[in-house]
Assembly symmetry: C2
Homo-oligomer: 168 residues x 2
Amino acid sequence: MQLEEGKEKFIQAWGTLGSSWGINRTMAQVHALLLISPTSLSTEDVMQELSVSRGNANMNLRALMDWGLISKELRPGERKEYFVAEKDMWKVAKQVIRERRKRELEPMLRILEELKQVEGKKGDRDAEAFTQAINNLHDLSTKADKTLNTMLRADEHWFLSSFMKLMR
Amino acid sequence: MQLEEGKEKFIQAWGTLGSSWGINRTMAQVHALLLISPTSLSTEDVMQELSVSRGNANMNLRALMDWGLISKELRPGERKEYFVAEKDMWKVAKQVIRERRKRELEPMLRILEELKQVEGKKGDRDAEAFTQAINNLHDLSTKADKTLNTMLRADEHWFLSSFMKLMR
DNA sequence: TAAAACTTTCAATAAGTATTGAAAGTATAA
DNA sequence: TTATACTTTCAATACTTATTGAAAGTTTTA
């Protein structure tokens, strides 16, 4: 396969994967583009490469900054802003985990804690099933939260070798 | 908080969480409804409780079956089909991991393998950055795949206690 | 201070996804 | 076999989310 075809394919695939993870397609494509780019790119470059409007490029570049997946790079003597992606995939994965934990897991934990306070007549099957489900879910979520937290503190070597060895 | 309000809140929250994970809101809500129901429910029950159409209820119940998160329950002497959700949250989590691994991680691995074959002139920075990114990603994905595979074989006790102890 | 070079916003619109409901399909019972 | 009790399908439609592009905003340079 030729390089251009490969790039195209990768950008497409990353965009599709993003969609099934609740990430807007263009955002994932911009990320893919920057991941495989040896140099930093401007908004114009992104518009050009992906054939998207200025507004769209701008909005998704900002979103990627919010997620901590890319950063601005200022070239001396130039006014335009350029963007680079973090290239270390383990760092990328950790950052995504960190953000989703903050944006989804933690709010869900707060809701589950609130729902543990639900009152139901003792002996009511509905109330018992509810309490049971909420408690189990809260328990699992708490454990997942702690596990993720630990993973995030671990470095790649630890995660990928010691941990792997232990697991097999 | 009263039981009814709690149920409502949980169904809403689960639906919202689903959306940010690429899962259709109604599907997540049907799942939530069954998770907190002490008895199995029919399509009619689901339509009633969530105020959705027959078509919608049917389609999402099927999708949940495809994901292996709920199953049919036939009541002796009744023609109608009833559905129950797996209540063990660890099993639920494992099943979701299993499915997403199959539906997303594995296809992505196949694509990355294909993209490792991309030809680029030696010394071309673009080609080198591309190859580098693909290789790193393939490497991380393979490791994640193996780790998930191992996790799926582990039982709850192992995962949540031995593993947790080791991690801290 | 004004013009130029850029970035951001946002209302309009397009594109994508989910939902409805009635009709068609299927299986059981009479 | 026909009627009944369900389940499934799917074209039309509603709803949600993403995208555009022009205008407004901001910063730098002359």
